[in-house]
């Protein structure tokens, strides 16, 4: 059974409609990737799932329960954690304090400070520094760690590679299978199509707020993807 599904999901910024009937599904333990050009609605989709944008009550089903329109604070308590675009770390908090903020939802599980430091050892040395003093890669690790601290069942990552160098991107994506080996499900938005294909088992391509292609990542060809991506 799918852990998260959306049915004809629509989303609006004021009067502007950004999503037009998105049908989406991710199975438990699977990594789904979402690709698409700028403005295709990828981030909007993630924000809507997390409750930052309004959604119809039964348009989003998580673990068999309708969660559309629920406040973001409640959604994280049910087990969906978000690594937001641009990381959004708390600037006046230290690295460790940022991680502890992730534990506000008070869900129990394997992820605690020690587990995060084991996953990203370089954070341990920087635990007392202000989050703003870190490099981009370290900040991204902190943001991932912060999301994991809520012990989610579904981890949502928005553009992990944004503004990072190729080496550090590799390092961060190398951590993803380790994170998911514990049975965690993930949705990843990624600009780099080949990276998206490589890490995911299911791929969705969005264009102008609609799904233009979806299927198992290893069965979709680059031609199909570029057709869906650019929509020519």
């Amino acid at each position: 059974m799918a852990l998260l599904s959306t049915f004809g999901l629509e989303s609006f910024y004021g009067d502007f409609q950004a999503l037009f009937g998105i049908d989406f599904e991710v199975e438990s333990g699977e990594i789904a990737a979402i690709i698409g050009a700028n403005g295709a609605g990828k981030s909007t989709f993630l924000k809507t799932v997390c409750g930052l944008l309004k959604a119809g009550p039964d348009k989003i089903v998580f673990d068999g329960q309708a969660i559309g329109g629920i406040a973001p604070g409640r959604i994280v308590q049910r087990g969906i954690a978000m690594v937001p675009e641009g990381r959004r770390l708390f600037a006046s908090l230290s690295v460790e304090e940022n991680l502890l903020m992730g534990a506000c939802a008070k869900r129990s599980g394997a992820w605690d400070l020690d587990a995060i430091y084991a996953l990203f050892p370089m954070l341990k040395d920087r635990s007392g520094s202000p989050a703003t003093a870190l490099s981009g890669g370290e900040q991204q690790m902190t943001a991932i760690g912060r999301a994991l601290m809520s012990n989610p069942r579904l981890l949502i990552c928005d553009e992990l590679s944004l503004g990072l160098g190729p080496m550090i991107i590799k390092e961060i994506y190398a951590a993803l299978p380790r994170i998911c080996s514990e049975g965690m499900t993930a949705i990843v938005v990624e600009q780099d199509v080949s990276m998206a294909k490589q890490i995911s088992s299911r791929l969705y391509c969005l264009q102008e707020g609609r799904v233009t292609l979806s299927g198992p990542s290893n069965q979709l060809t680059m031609e199909q993807i570029s057709l869906a991506y650019f929509g020519v």
Binding site: G73, P84, F90, S92, M101, T132
Partner: protein, 292 residues
């Protein structure tokens, strides 16, 4: 020489009161970027609340104000929580105007309500002569007992609040919602509740300030706006975001006013405003702005 020293000591003591006025303002502004224009009137409201309690309780004068303060602290916290949760939270957004207008309206309501109930006569909280008692120091100096108590409470409050902000989970939540409210919500934090707690704590400071102010001098229902002005000046002089800064700001304001008063009794407040303006020009970030 002793004369000047005396002026400065009296100024520091006066500054303790201003710091106490300003810390609540500083907290509310720091956590939710809300400019509470009713701040001074809430202090006056607290002073009248303490005055009424002292009258109603009929306890000996020496203990009555402190008992009243003890009763008012939880009442104040609940009032602040409710005010934020059910009124002010609705005014917060990208636009700063709604919160300004609403707190301005609340200020008018509080002032007129007090006027209606207590008339415009100034009142004072009797404390069995504590307000006139003094301690003689070496070199012909004498300091008022109550001002010393007020300054000590202000210093203790600054330390306690700074500790709360720096070292507790609640303080972490205060800083996080102040940094990025949406991201804090994504962590499962209910910002409405966190904001309401912040205003609750600000009201603890307001209740202390009001009760002590009413013990030190006379209060009248229309005094609020002047206190608001002193609070603003102390917050800006000290720099946003740190309670020690606000404490320093209050003391700088107190000392400058005391020096002004020394030259001419009509100049004290004016010199305070001038120093405030000078600091705004020369060091707009304040004396001790948030360090990180």
């Amino acid at each position: 020489m002793a004369d000047y020293l005396n002026t400065i000591v009296q100024g520091i003591l006066l500054g303790g009161l201003y710091a106490l006025f300003a810390m609540g303002q500083s907290l509310i502004f720091g956590v939710m970027r809300l400019t509470n224009t009713a701040h001074g009137d809430f202090i006056i409201l607290a002073a009248f609340g303490a005055y009424s309690l002292v009258v109603l309780l009929g306890l000996p004068q020496a203990v009555a104000p402190w008992v009243a303060l003890g009763i008012l602290l939880p009442v104040g916290f609940a009032t602040g929580y409710g005010l934020q949760r059910f009124v002010l939270n609705g005014t917060l957004g990208r636009d700063p105007l709604p919160s300004l207008v609403v707190t301005f309206g609340v200020a008018i309501v509080v002032q007129n309500l007090l006027q209606e109930v207590y008339t415009a006569d100034p009142r004072s909280i009797e404390s069995d002569g504590l307000n006139t008692a003094s301690v003689a120091l070496d070199g012909g100096l004498a300091v008022g007992t109550l001002p010393v108590i007020i300054l000590s409470i202000a210093v203790a409050m600054a330390i306690a609040m700074q500790w709360l902000f720096d070292h507790t989970p609640l303080g972490r939540a205060f800083r996080a919602v102040s940094d990025d409210r949406d991201a804090a919500e994504l962590m499962g934090l209910n910002y409405r509740h966190v904001y309401a707690l912040a205003t609750g704590f600000a009201f603890l400071l307001i209740v202390c300030a009001g009760t002590l102010y009413g013990m030190k001098t006379t209060v009248a229902p229309a005094d609020g706006p002047a206190l608001l002005l002193f609070s603003f000046e102390a917050v800006i002089i000290g720099g946003m975001g740190s309670f020690y800064g606000t404490l320093a700001g209050g003391i700088v304001l107190g000392v400058t006013q005391a020096i002004g008063f020394r030259f001419d009794p009509g100049w004290g407040i004016w010199v305070g405003h001038m120093v405030f303006l000078a600091i705004l020009l020369v060091r707009p970030q304040g004396l001790l702005p948030k360090t990180r």
